[in-house]
């Protein structure tokens, strides 16, 4: 496979990375976050065993464009959909969700999750075809958007927010 060149983003891109709840398999996410970093992203790494609430809270507080998660322990359908729902519920539907879980996530499940609104679930085949950098480039490209440039009148709520 030819060496894939690193995608050069227009914007500062921030990601939250973690593995799913009750899941200690952190080898993959550690590799992915390193490549994200070396591709110029600012990565807030949460490590393994993180609940949806923790990930979503962090993503909102940290103003990220994307969340990258791995799930090797099953329950991925519920986990990813819940992330999506909770982000939307808390007004952060713009944050994109990426995931992977090796062979644990079956092809029809990948389709189900992407149809639901998950930006992309990478399969082992994707890994073979795109390469690691290729997958990271894909994530960076999809997240290469400004965070916000105007406040939309939210200013007046600031003192009330706790």
């Amino acid at each position: 496979m030819d060496a894939v060149s690193v995608y050069k983003p227009q914007n500062k891109i921030r990601f939250v990375t973690a593995t799913s709840l009750f899941d200690g398999h952190d080898a993959t996410i550690n590799i992915m976050r390193r490549i994200l970093q070396s591709s110029g992203a600012e990565v807030i790494h949460l490590g393994h065993n993180r609940s949806v609430d923790e990930v979503v809270n962090c993503a909102i507080q940290e103003d990220v464009q994307g969340i990258a998660l791995t799930s090797y322990q099953g329950g991925h359908i519920e986990y990813f959909k819940y992330i999506y729902d909770l982000l939307k519920e808390r007004g952060a539907g713009h944050i994109k969700i990426f995931g992977g879980g090796g062979g644990v996530i079956l092809p029809h499940e990948i389709k189900e999750l992407q149809d639901y609104g998950i930006a992309r679930i990478y399969s082992p085949d994707d890994g073979r075809h795109m390469g690691l950098q290729g997958m990271i480039n894909d994530m960076m490209r999809q997240c290469d958007t400004p965070i916000t440039s105007h406040l939309n009148g939210e200013m007046k709520y600031l003192p009330k927010k706790r």
Binding site: S38, G47, Q61, Y82, D125, M155
Partner: protein
């Protein structure tokens, strides 16, 4: 936003207007690796407990100049920030060589505008720009460690001029008190406080990594006071924390941290001694030979027969006498133990020529045949002995190999394998307890011995209860069984007599191991109560207890099966009579106590409970490592006082280390070093080596590498040598017993049929190496949850080797092979060399602090992946010998998962359990916490709590007194 659009001036001016100037800003900075994020987390935890105020944290980490990327890694260490009262924002510096982002002031302003009561700004400790932080904050805190080098180094630290508070974290490091004194001296100089008392200086020693560290308490109290003094803001903390000097409760006492080097040294000393002794024995043998050659011929009837030997007989002098002198001298210099071994050797040979071997186990005489007759009527020996004649060779074999059952146990720790019990252990765990119970009965139907291996779902592995919340719900009963209560445990093992000599249960659980063990023990006790009730016809008492505890309270009695109460084939129903009750609710206290004592001293099995390898490789830690270790010690202490002889309190595991990518040498070295760490810890708690060492067991992975052919031999020998020579343990303590699981990592998702071949070879390694227990993986495990068909095939692998394979009828088939002996020495030396490397890092716990083990495992994993990728490491059907379709990855059409019905049933059963015990649980949990705080044996009160509290309830109660696990990068 302020980071990205600095020119949006209108927004910033507006912001300034609503900024509340009264809000204190605390700046925290310090050297890298000083433990700042743990320290901040511990401050936050105390702040949330002691006040009802809110808090914002702004944490700044450096951007990489080359890539522009950044790792904002503070959150991973933070356990207390997921609270509605805490906001945290990580900033990358986005500029080179500076510790702060340009936009810190704006970020502070936003937090002030948002009305947070306290703002913490934490900066990275790189470069010389630490003091920049003081421009932004009202007061500052500087974090360092005692390891700053010579006191003159302190003169270079600018922050000692500026900081309001100085913290020496990691106060357990060597020379901490001297460091504290030096820093205080420097602080006095810098602040012209020459008359100040040392104790009044704002310099603190802390151990943020230690739960509820008194030094941290002191720091917190001082911090709140300083904030008041400097800004006038009073946080009115609830109940003033008791501040004391930081005091480390050491796991391994500081003067014992060289244990691994000592083990390596003692092994080397033994080897040298063996060499010297064998040399003497060999010389003795040679002298004896010469004496025989030169002995004067016996007078023959012919008077003078010329014998060949007379030709070489030197003339003159008293040769015979001289040889005799040499012989006597050599014999005296030979160790008495070696003399005895050589003297008894001919007898040993005779013993193994007999038809049967007779030995004693705990005063019970056991007689087992020593020969197997093949179809060709050949008598094949179970134990084959060397034909060595020279004493040096015989002695070396006895000192480094020996027959199975004799020190140093190279070939095995028992003289012969147990009869009527294959070392087959079968793994099961999926769905609810009923489904797994059914699987257990399926795999053990018709087997004389029931060796059950339990896999728990990840909810259970992390100590939580099933719940409807989607991120929990999705994992209930997947890739393991869901167990949250004593009721669940009773259903899971129903129909197996847990106190029967042929039943043995292993539980793959680590973080919440104490609770699961509590459930298991209580289930075993109640089974015995049930048998007593039936024997004494006391069923009416059970009925009365059900009436009082359920019917009268309008509660539904718990039952087996979500909808279908039918028991699977083979399940007698034992253990279900008291489902929902405990024996002490039915039987008189004295009867119950007696049954209880008998049950827990009789049950056979293993609980994994190996917390060290969890931190190194597997990541299912839930409590702080220190607290988890303390509970392991409590369990072991409990086992000793309750005379639990047949249950292993820990399964010291290399399996997960190997699965995470470690090579076999690293697997063995890390696992044994973890084992010796438990030994040192238990010894430091005052336990006797002979009392606890027999309760330790080991668990290794067997892959396909050459080292795996001797992994058991090396493990047994290193352990035995250390136990005998260094720890002075008795022979039971010297015997290392271990379970093998074939390597899951060596199974591939391509050409999955080939996987059984790999497993077979690995199983053969294990059986030839005399493992005490074995699990063979199913070929489809790489892609899915094994089916009944694939599990049956996996079981057949073992049965074919054990029952059909002729050579396996012999029990020491690899002893005496040159390569095996050489590999054993090579691997042993490599393991001991690794011991020294770990020792140089402060022992196992010291090495873990710098994540040495994790790093090494990751490195080795990468090495394997690279060779696999390039094809240098051939894997048939994966990177070579592909079929005409290119051997594609097999994707299963459907994976076995827990059903909705099972999940819902688990949740409703748990709710019913909690509801019926809601009056009892709080008090039991409080007792449990009290025991923990008082430093008493936690497991004793845990045994009670397990009767009426759920797993999640207990975990959360213990977090409050023992601390949660802090993740590592």
């Amino acid at each position: 936003m302020v980071e990205n659009y600095p020119s949006n001036a209108g927004f910033l001016t507006e912001l300034k207007k609503i900024t509340n100037k009264e809000i204190p800003v605390l700046g925290i900075t310090g050297t890298g690796g000083a433990g700042k994020s743990s320290l901040v987390d511990e401050l936050v935890r105390r702040y949330l407990m002691e006040t009802d105020k809110t808090l914002a944290i702004i944490s700044v980490d450096p951007s990489k100049r080359k890539t522009g990327g950044a790792l904002l890694g503070d959150r991973i260490r933070m356990n207390s920030i997921n609270s509605p009262r805490v906001y945290m924002r990580s900033l990358a510096t986005r500029q080179a060589n500076l510790a702060l982002s340009k936009y810190v002031q704006e970020a502070i302003d936003i937090c002030k505008a948002a009305g947070y009561d306290l703002i913490i700004v934490e900066t990275s400790g790189i470069g010389q720009s630490d003091t920049m932080i003081t421009d932004y904050c009202d007061l500052s805190l500087y974090v360092m460690t005692p390891e700053f080098g010579a006191a003159t180094q302190l003169e270079k630290i600018d922050m000692l001029d500026f900081a309001d508070i100085v913290v020496l974290n990691k106060f357990d490091k060597r020379g901490a008190l001297d460091a504290l004194r030096d820093v205080k001296k420097q602080y006095k100089r810098n602040h012209q406080l020459f008359d100040a008392k040392d104790s009044d200086l704002p310099v603190f020693g802390t151990m943020a990594s230690q739960f509820n560290d008194p030094g941290m308490n002191s720091l917190f109290v001082a911090l709140i006071k300083t904030i008041k003094a400097k800004t006038g803001v009073d946080f009115r903390t609830k109940n003033e924390m008791v501040g004391e000097d930081a005091e480390k409760s050491y796991i391994i006492p500081p003067d014992r941290t060289r244990y691994l080097a000592e083990i390596a040294e003692s092994s080397a000393a033994y080897n040298e001694w063996v060499d010297a002794q064998c040399k003497i024995a060999q010389q003795l043998f040679q002298v004896k030979g010469v004496m025989e050659l030169t002995a004067p011929p016996k007078p023959s009837p012919e008077g003078r027969a010329l014998k060949a030997n007379q030709k070489v007989s030197p003339t003159g002098g008293d040769l015979e006498g001289a040889l005799q002198d040499i012989y006597t001298h050599l014999e005296e210099s030979l160790d008495a133990e070696c003399r005895k071994l050589l003297r008894e050797w001919p007898q040993t040979i005779e013993t193994y020529k007999a038809d049967n071997f007779i030995y004693k186990v705990r005063d019970k005489e056991i007689k087992q045949p020593l020969y197997y007759t093949s179809l060709s009527q050949l008598r094949v020996p179970k134990i084959s002995l060397p034909k060595y004649e020279a004493w040096g060779d015989v002695l070396r074999w006895l000192l480094t190999e020996n027959v199975p059952g004799e020190f140093p146990y190279a070939a095995g720790v028992f003289p012969l394998k147990r009869e009527g019990e294959d070392p087959t252990r079968m793994f099961a765990g999926e769905g609810g307890p009923e489904r797994t119970n059914k699987r257990f009965h399926y795999v053990s139907l018709g087997q004389p011995a029931h060796r059950l291996s339990t896999a728990f779902d990840s909810v259970t592995l992390y100590g939580e209860d099933p719940h409807l919340r989607p991120d929990i719900y999705g994992k209930i009963g997947n890739s393991g069984v869901s167990i949250a209560t004593l009721d669940d445990a009773k259903k899971l093992y129903s129909g197996f007599d847990l106190c029967h000599a042929a039943t043995s249960v292993s539980m793959t659980i680590n973080g919440p191991a104490p609770m699961l063990l509590g459930f298991f023990m209580n289930a075993a006790i109640d089974q015995q109560c049930e048998k007593y009730i039936i024997d004494h016809k006391l069923e009416h008492l059970v009925e009365a207890a059900f009436k009082a505890n359920y019917d009268d309270k309008k509660l539904k009695r718990p039952h087996y099966g979500a909808t279908d109460p039918t028991l699977p084939e083979g399940n007698s129903g034992l253990g279900l009579m008291l489902l929902g009750l405990t024996g002490d609710q039915v039987l008189p206290a004295d009867v119950y106590a007696k049954i209880r004592a008998h049950a827990i001293s009789t049950v056979r099995g293993t609980v994994q409970a190996d917390i060290l390898k969890e931190d190194q490789a597997q990541n299912t830690c839930i409590f702080s490592t220190e607290f988890a270790l303390r509970m392991m010690g409590d369990i072991q202490q409990y086992f000793i006082s309750e005379k639990v002889r047949n249950f292993y309190s820990v399964s010291i595991s290399g399996y997960h280390i190997a699965e995470a990518g470690a090579n076999p040498i690293t697997q063995l070295a890390f696992t044994l070093s973890n084992g010796f760490t438990y030994v040192e810890y238990y010894l430091s708690r005052g336990m006797n080596i002979d009392d606890f060492a027999p309760n330790l067991s080991f668990f290794f992975s067997n892959g396909i590498d050459p080292e795996y052919s001797v992994i058991g031999r090396v493990a047994r020998r290193i352990w035995a040598k250390a136990m005998k020579n260094k720890y002075k343990g008795n022979d039971r303590a010297q015997k290392l017993k271990y379970h093998i699981q074939t390597s899951g990592r060596s199974l591939h998702a391509q050409e999955i049929d080939f996987n059984d071949i790999r497993t077979t070879l690995q199983a053969l390694y294990a059986i030839y190496d005399n493992c005490n227990s074995l699990h063979t993986n199913a070929y489809d495990e790489a892609i899915t949850t094994p089916t009944e068909e694939s599990v049956r095939r996996a079981m057949a692998i073992q049965l074919i080797i054990n029952r059909e394979l002729g050579l396996a009828k012999n029990e020491n088939p690899i002893q005496g092979a040159f390569i095996i002996e050489e590999l054993t020495d090579l691997v042993e030396n490599a393991v001991l060399a690794e011991f020294k490397r770990i020792n140089d890092r402060g022992g196992v716990l010291g090495a873990m602090e710098t994540m040495y083990q994790r790093g090494k495992i990751q490195e080795e994993s990468l090495y394997y992946e690279t060779l696999k990728h390039t094809g240098e490491y051939p894997i048939v059907g994966v990177n070579t010998f592909l079929n005409k379709n290119g051997s594609p990855t097999i994707i299963p059409s459907e994976v076995i998962r827990a059903t909705e019905e099972e999940k819902q049933y688990q949740i409703s059963a748990l709710e019913a359990f909690k509801h019926r015990n809601e009056s009892r649980a709080p008090q039991l949990l409080k007792n449990l916490q009290k025991t923990a705080v008082a430093g008493e044996n936690i497991f004793e009160s845990l045994m009670e709590a397990c009767k009426y509290c759920s797993l999640g309830q207990i975990s959360h109660a213990l977090y409050e007194v023992g601390g949660q696990y802090r993740r590592n990068m």
